[in-house]
């Protein structure tokens, strides 16, 4: 018990001295603590040899050291600021490096959230005009069909019909966008298919994936089936075909 008490008291004095040191490195603090500890123990041992009560000797040895904060302040004045500034510069450099490393993923995440928001509010900018760069659509109608797919949404936002030269059937382009329900989550690719599919194109980011599905329809056909692959079985959605332009 006595041993524990002594160590705590000496230790407390050393800690108090070191708490004032602003310019000291950890190594310097440890070295000073060891030196002060040796001093106090040596002093107490000398007093005990003279017949002092051990506890009184230890208490006196600590008191003889003087005010811990004063000792710490005076010692700190003698320390060089070199390592302090080195440490500060290192911290700044480290901060800049970490910020640089984080800036890439953070920017990507920010872009993904922005894309997700865009897909929810105004998906029309998606990939219009990218399907047949050399042909204008005969009919181009905005639609808004939102299909929940677990933690994602598939939204159909535009249908376009293109005439095919010297043929009686038509190309149909169904524009979709997929985005996560939680804007902070990444969107995973799903591949819906049109019945009588021709091809598809897509672009997007982790925030939203735009797809243009190309198929073939007969004149007057009311619906075209859209098959959405899901775990277990596919879901079939019938999309109305707009043969007339909405005024």
């Amino acid at each position: 018990m006595e041993q524990v008490s002594r160590e705590i008291t000496y230790d407390a004095y050393c800690k108090q001295v070191c708490s004032v040191l602003k310019k000291a490195t950890q190594k310097e603090k440890i070295a000073l603590s060891e030196e002060l500890l040796d001093h106090m123990e040596s002093h107490a041992e000398a007093l005990i040899e003279l017949g002092w009560d051990p506890e009184e000797a230890r208490t006196y040895a600590i008191q003889a050291m003087g005010d811990a904060e004063t000792v710490g302040r005076q010692y700190d004045e003698k320390l060089s600021s070199f390592w302090l500034w080195c440490g500060r510069l290192l911290c700044v450099a480290l901060f800049c490096y970490v910020a640089y490393l984080l800036s890439g993923p953070v920017q990507k995440k920010y872009q993904a959230v922005q894309d997700n928001y865009q897909a929810r509010t105004d998906p029309q900018w998606g990939i219009n005009g990218m399907v047949f760069p050399d042909r204008d659509p005969w009919i181009s109608e905005p639609v808004d069909i939102a299909i929940p797919l677990g933690e994602q949404w598939l939204r159909i936002y535009r249908v376009e019909i293109y005439e095919l030269p010297e043929r009686e059937d038509y190309n149909i382009a169904v524009f979709t966008v997929t985005y996560a329900d939680d804007p902070l989550q990444n969107t995973s690719v799903i591949q819906p298919r049109l019945e009588r599919e021709g091809s598809f194109a897509y672009n997007g980011s982790k925030g939203a994936i735009y797809q243009a599905l190309i198929g073939i329809v007969e004149e007057g056909q009311s619906f075209i089936g859209l098959r959405i692959p899901q775990i277990g079985e596919d879901t079939l959605i019938q999309i109305p075909i707009p043969w007339e332009v909405t005024p």
């Binding site: 001093h39 003087g66 000792v71 003698k78």
Partner: protein, 113 residues
């Protein structure tokens, strides 16, 4: 019994002590207490800032040794630069001492002495 005095010239005293042998902190305090016949008084912890200053100036060097009880003990050694500094400070101190003595003796024994 002489009144205890606070010593202002700790650096000079430390350099003087180290001119005879390498010492550790508490040993210097014990030696000063013995030499001054208990008229010396200083807060012992304030010795270490003085020692650090002397080390920074290159007047003393530090090395470590293990004590019998296993503690790490720092010993201070006077360098050649420290010896030259001791000589300079001793001369300064003696000039100061002569000036003080002349004033005090004049006051005690009168202008005719």
């Amino acid at each position: 019994m002489a009144k205890k005095q606070s010593i202002e010239h700790t650096s000079l005293l430390v350099l003087s002590l180290l001119s005879t042998e390498d010492m550790y902190g508490y040993q210097m305090i014990a030696e000063l207490t013995k030499k001054f016949d208990n008229t010396f008084s200083m807060k012992e912890g304030t010795l270490y800032p003085v020692l650090k200053g002397l080390e920074n100036d290159g007047f003393v060097e530090v090395y470590e040794e293990k004590t019998e009880s296993g503690r790490t003990r720092k010993y201070y050694h006077l360098t050649n630069k420290g010896r030259r500094q001791l000589k300079t400070e001793t001369e300064t101190w003696r000039a100061y001492e002569r000036a003080i003595n002349s004033v005090v003796e004049r006051a005690v024994y009168g202008a005719g002495v």
